[in-house]
């Protein structure tokens, strides 16, 4: 009996020791609090090194300075111990919701979180030039499109300086392998090649080590194909490296933990649902990135993002809500940077469901909504007034916003259309928050009260997004409030889904079949002359604005928290990746 009592007491003592260790840092490590908070805080406080503080363990943790001083000295030591000698000053800590990361293989990744990583470690032949309809050279120094009778021929000349992180040169053979591999794997993004570009393996050819030739059928748009070439799906992988690690899935599993690209960073480690660590590519052929390491942490709670940017546990945080933006307004160490997304938040109206089958009723609804209140009051600035189907930031955006709340006009239109007061319409909305940071339900309530003023009774039904999509895709929604983002940074990524009934996307879901408008969209996609193309999109935009079954409510903006010592941060939704970590530096 006494022996077991002794055991209990010993265990209790051990537990006490463990908790004390946990609270005070333990004998092996004489510093006080989490090193997580240290690096940026120390920079902000102007403390560079504090070796003296490391020698003695502070038993009480009272002053912030002590904490800062103590940890500043150890972080480098820790990094060195773990075999990674990169100072916090040379490391970028990025936090955001990265829980959608499924794969880091360019042929598979199709989620924001995955693309964000792949865009740093791989390169494409061309890259988008934000705000400009033309493309910039990347791995290809020049390219041209020729009409070769029955097909389009697109020829790329590779930059001979380009090389992979392995040291090998990027050759035409690598390009052919990468694109064929993407088609063979046939994962989520592959349709951009196979369906949108109508690209076939036999039509991708290496003419010589520096020249790639691609042939596309006349039904595909070479302009759209080129913009797809700037997307991560078209990134070039090092054929030798991938083939050496092919396994049973063409190297896909292997590429989740290694990178084989020519980008400014290489993948160091992916700890699933925790963080991704990227190291600067030491043999990068372009301008070397300013920061030696990028750590992307998966943080889903917005309040945690706020704390992280306030404490300096993150240099950049992604997607702050309206409340956090307000809270950070007067922060001396951090600022809020807002950037456009290419998303649109809209209401789809089923064009076959009475009374929405009458274009005048749809137009009346568009005039009944108070857009300014939504953008300015509800979103608190986390959105922009956009009413057309091509978002701001994409080629072809006209900036036309013809609708402003006019209750009398809207009522008049309804009366003329023969719609009785009190007519009921069901509005389906998804659960959770809408892009821009407010709840779908709040947005729906606003629409409900606006439409009430013209005598329409809106019944809101809130369901899980996937359940909503099921109804919407089956053309069974009467009114549906949802968002849309283009699959590739070209107006056609929105125009075809929103106008082509045959594409079985948004126009189809709203039972809206307008063949002449769809034809306009198709002509615009195939048009090679940018001036003519822009004119076609303008014509199309004007028609969809008034004839279409949509109420575009707003284009959400994304709010980033950025520490003030961070320089070179930009976010461009049309670029891949949207954030170029290699352009960022820290003071």
């Amino acid at each position: 009996m006494s022996r077991s009592n002794l055991l209990v007491r010993m265990l209790a003592m051990l537990a006490v020791v463990a908790v004390v260790l946990a609270a005070c840092g333990g004998p092996t490590a004489p510093t006080s609090t989490g090193a997580t908070t240290a690096p940026v805080a120390s920079a902000a406080a102007g403390v560079t090194t504090a070796p003296a503080a490391v020698t003695e363990a502070p038993t009480t943790m009272t002053t912030a300075t002590a904490v800062v001083a103590a940890t500043a000295g150890t972080t480098t030591a820790e990094a060195a111990t773990s075999g990674a000698a990169v100072s916090p000053q040379q490391t970028l800590l990025f936090s955001g919701d990265l829980s959608d990361q499924i794969s880091l293989d360019p042929a598979v990744a199709y989620e924001f979180g995955g693309i964000q990583v792949v865009g740093q470690t791989y390169e494409t032949l061309v890259s988008p030039d934000p705000g400009n309809p033309t493309l910039k050279p990347l791995l290809a120094k020049k390219w041209d499109t020729k009409d070769s009778g029955d097909m389009w021929t697109v020829t790329f000349n590779l930059d001979e300086k380009a090389k992979f992180a392995s040291g090998r040169s990027v050759t035409a053979d690598d390009v052919v392998y990468s694109w064929s591999r993407a088609l063979d794997l046939n994962k989520s993004p592959a349709f951009l090649f196979s369906d949108i570009s109508k690209l076939k393996k036999e039509n991708i050819k290496a003419v010589d080590p520096q020249t790639v030739e691609v042939r596309l059928p006349k039904t595909a748009s070479p302009t759209v194909f080129l913009s797809i070439c700037s997307f991560t799906l078209a990134a070039v992988v090092d054929k030798q490296v991938v083939q050496a690690n092919a396994g049973s899935d063409m190297g896909s599993t292997w590429l989740n933990d290694h990178s084989a690209g020519s980008g400014p960073y290489v993948l160091d480690r992916w700890e699933r649902s925790t963080q991704v660590t990227l190291n600067a590519n030491p043999t990068y052929w372009g301008t070397a990135p300013a920061l030696k390491r990028v750590i992307m942490r998966n943080v889903t709670e917005v309040s945690n993002l706020q704390s992280a940017i306030e404490t300096g546990d993150a240099d950049i945080v992604q997607d702050l809500g309206a409340e956090q933006v307000k809270a950070l307004a007067n922060n001396p160490d951090a600022q809020v940077v807002k950037a456009d997304s290419t998303l649109l938040v809209y209401i789809g109206m089923n064009a076959k469901s009475p009374p929405l089958d009458k274009p005048e009723v749809r137009e009346a609804i568009r005039y009944a909504i108070n857009y300014d209140e939504i953008v300015n009051n509800l979103l608190g600035g986390n959105g922009k007034l956009v009413q057309e189907i091509i978002p701001n930031g994409l080629f072809g955006h006209t900036g036309e916003n013809p609708f402003k709340q006019d209750v009398a006009k809207a009522k008049d239109m309804l009366t003329k259309a023969g719609v009785a007061a009190g007519t009921q319409i069901e509005l389906l909305i998804p659960a959770g928050p809408a892009p821009g940071g407010i709840d779908w339900s709040i947005l729906a309530a606003k629409v409900q009260s606006d439409l009430q003023q013209i005598g329409l009774k809106i019944n809101i039904k809130q369901i899980q997004q996937s359940e909503l999509l099921n109804t919407y895709r089956a053309q069974k929604g009467q009114m549906v409030m949802i968002n849309w983002g283009p699959d590739f940074p070209d107006p056609d990524g929105n125009v075809t889904p929103f106008t082509s009934y045959a594409a079985k996307s948004i126009a189809w879901r709203n039972a809206w079949d307008a063949p002449d408008i769809a034809k306009l969209g198709q002509d615009a996609a195939l048009e090679q002359d940018n001036t003519k193309r822009a004119a076609l999109y303008k014509q199309l935009t004007e028609r969809v604005l008034h004839e279409g079954p949509y109420v575009i409510l707003y284009q959400p903006t994304r709010a980033f928290g950025v520490r003030k010592n961070v320089q070179g941060f930009t976010y461009d939704p049309a670029d891949t990746p949207s954030i170029s970590f290699w352009r960022i530096s820290k003071q």
Binding site: S4, V16, G25, T36, P88, T274, P497
Partner: protein, 335 residues
């Protein structure tokens, strides 16, 4: 003892079979389409069909269930619809984090709950007792998410005494994986910085998660001790002139531990459910966060995997409690 264990094991199989049927039935009732949840709204019809086919979602529910159980018997949990990885790999990655957190929380509540309970009983109606009772009352009534946000706001954002969300300082490389528990792996690798960082990162989530069970244990220990301290044998021991601490720890404590042990078993369950919230608040990459994300996207194989693993935990804890009774009081048989 062997017969007892065999009987318990047979019971476990029945529990698992029941749990799997109920979980499966629930996933069939919920009006969410896993394919749409996984592929999003831009997916085309043929992609959705291909996805349904690949995951066997296009087959009748009973057939889906039977083939799932068939694979399960071969140790195959299937592929997660959301992460597109084998569920077994996901469980292996995320489970150690939850075990580590739950053990730490259990440690906190055993240590604080029992010791405060004893002190409160000894100082019956004194100020320590009063404080302990308030502490227990608050612990029993404070929602875990509120407590989590509160301690983060106080100890991390405001005072900066302790690190915030996550398991480890982002600058550190996790220790080589042996158990998957960073503290133990750091010890094995003799890596001081990662040990310290992982222990520090454990403090706030373990306190948050363990507070409720601490409160329950405290109350239970206190009342059990109060009862035992009034027993004749305790008075006799005191009358014999034994030292107070000996009476308390050697005579009274052990006899008051039986109800406490029952409580430990029950509260362990609350730890597992509390882990879901705690892990979300503390960005703790464990089973709870995995379960939430999987449930929202109706990732049937993943939900099933997590449920089955959790279903094993309860009977095992109960078994341990039963064995514990026997150890504490040999008069209680294990049969």
């Amino acid at each position: 003892m062997a017969r007892f264990l065999i009987r318990r094991l047979a019971g476990l199989v029945l529990v698992l079979a029941g749990v799997s049927v109920i979980t499966f039935a629930l996933t069939q009732v919920v009006p969410i389409d896993p394919a749409l949840a996984a592929l999003g709204q831009n997916a085309r019809e043929d992609q959705i069909q291909a996805f349904r086919h690949a995951y066997g979602l296009d087959r009748p529910p009973v057939q889906q269930y039977i083939s799932y159980i068939g694979r399960l018997l071969h140790g195959n949990f299937g592929l997660s619809i959301r992460t597109r990885r084998p569920v077994a790999d996901d469980l292996r990655d995320y489970m150690p984090a939850t075990i580590e957190l739950s053990l730490a929380a259990m440690g906190v509540s055993l240590l604080l709950g029992i010791s405060l309970g004893i002190v409160a009983a000894v100082q019956h109606n004194g100020w320590v007792d009063g404080l302990a009772r308030i502490f227990a009352l608050v612990g029993g009534s404070l929602p875990i998410f509120f407590l989590g946000l509160l301690v983060l706001a106080l100890f991390y954002t405001k005072l900066r005494w302790l690190p915030g969300p996550g398991r480890l300082d982002p600058y550190l490389t996790p220790p080589p994986r042996v158990t998957g528990m960073y503290t133990i792996d750091s010890l094995l690798a003799r890596n001081g910085p990662t040990l310290r960082s992982s222990l520090l990162h454990l403090v706030l989530p373990a306190l948050t998660l363990g507070y409720f069970s601490t409160a329950v244990l405290l109350r239970m220990t206190r009342s059990a001790m109060l009862e035992v301290l009034q027993q004749d044998y305790v008075r006799t021991a005191r009358a014999k002139g034994l030292r107070g601490s000996v009476v308390l720890l050697r005579h009274a404590l052990k006899n008051s531990m039986i109800p406490v042990l029952t409580t430990i078993g029950v509260t362990f369950g609350s730890l597992l459910s509390g882990a879901v919230l705690t892990e979300t608040i503390f960005a703790w990459p464990g089973l709870g966060r995995y379960a939430t994300a999987s449930a929202v996207s109706l990732d049937f194989p993943a939900v099933m995997g997590v449920t089955l693993v959790s279903a094993v935990v309860y009977p095992v804890v109960n078994l341990l409690v039963d064995i514990g009774y026997h150890v504490l009081d040999p008069r209680i048989g294990v049969g």
